[in-house]
């Protein structure tokens, strides 16, 4: 039977991959995906704790996290599309102007 440690290990590695993706990638879309990975790992941790304590609060919070993730994806993609219209690419190192 996997202990909480094993679920948390998966969650932790997932989070690490997400951080590495955010910090090393240049494409804004991949950065968005890495953020989704991190949110997923957070959810996994929430559900592990929920299971560990036999309470539902973790599951409720996980649904809120998913709501935030959906909002983040929608706004993020709107920004990506706007950026693409302005600069013709979605590389973050080319997004250097503060005004359109």
């Amino acid at each position: 039977m996997p202990a909480p440690l094993e679920y948390l290990a998966v969650s932790c590695i997932l989070f690490g991959i997400g951080i590495a993706g955010v910090l090393t990638r240049r494409n804004l879309l991949v950065i968005l995906m890495s953020i989704e990975l991190m949110l997923n790992s957070a959810n996994l941790a929430f559900l592990t704790f929920s299971r560990l304590h036999g309470q539902l609060h973790g599951q409720v919070i996980a649904i809120f996290v998913m709501t935030v993730a959906a909002a983040e994806a929608a706004i993020g993609l709107a920004i990506v599309v706007a950026l693409f219209r302005q600069t013709g690419s979605v590389r973050i190192d080319e997004a250097t102007r503060l005004r359109g």
Binding site: M1, P4, I13, V30, L37, L44, A62, I75
Partner: protein
């Protein structure tokens, strides 16, 4: 027998999730990144089921695989020459990012290992949770629930404003 099955499925789902995550964060081909994300979402949904949060697993598939992933595919298709199979996505300065993420990750590992975690009871109680979660939303979490609906409304407006073509 059932415990063995449980362990085996755990490792299969964990492998799916981690392999998908690694591909989607580090692959140079953008389309691989997007579709590997599907693998991660399904693997994580499987882990949710093993944690007896099966309703959450269904919501995860519905929201992530059916919603967010399709949005991301849209993003890829709107902003790239998608017809070109080798749509590439490069790295920035690898050293800097790798060092910082490595440090953060090590901190996480150290703190997780410091806590003496209990072993989960052998058979996860399968109890229907849907109604209980719904009651929580309308009970303890009523204010955050209403607030999140407000946030979603703002997101719709904001996304529409941002992505709208400038009318000159």
């Amino acid at each position: 027998m059932e415990a063995l099955f449980h362990v085996a499925t755990f490792y299969v789902f964990a492998a799916f999730a981690l392999a998908g995550a690694a591909i989607s964060a580090f692959s140079r081909r953008l389309v691989y990144c997007v579709f590997a994300l599907l693998l991660t979402f399904l693997g994580v949904a499987g882990l949710y089921v093993l944690l007896s949060a099966d309703f959450l697993a269904a919501v995860q598939v519905l929201l992530y695989a059916g919603g967010i992933l399709v949005l991301l595919i849209f993003g890829v298709m709107l902003t790239h020459e998608i017809a070109d199979v080798s749509t590439e996505a490069n790295f920035t300065d690898i050293k800097f990012g790798a060092v910082i993420s490595g440090i953060l990750w090590l901190l996480l590992v150290v703190y997780i290992c410091k806590v003496p975690w209990a072993v989960l009871d052998p058979l996860p109680p399968y109890a229907p949770t849907t109604r209980a979660i719904g009651l929580q939303f309308l009970g303890d979490y009523l204010v955050p629930f209403e607030y999140s609906s407000f946030v979603l409304l703002l997101v719709v407006l904001g996304a529409a404003t941002l992505a709208r073509k400038e009318v000159d």
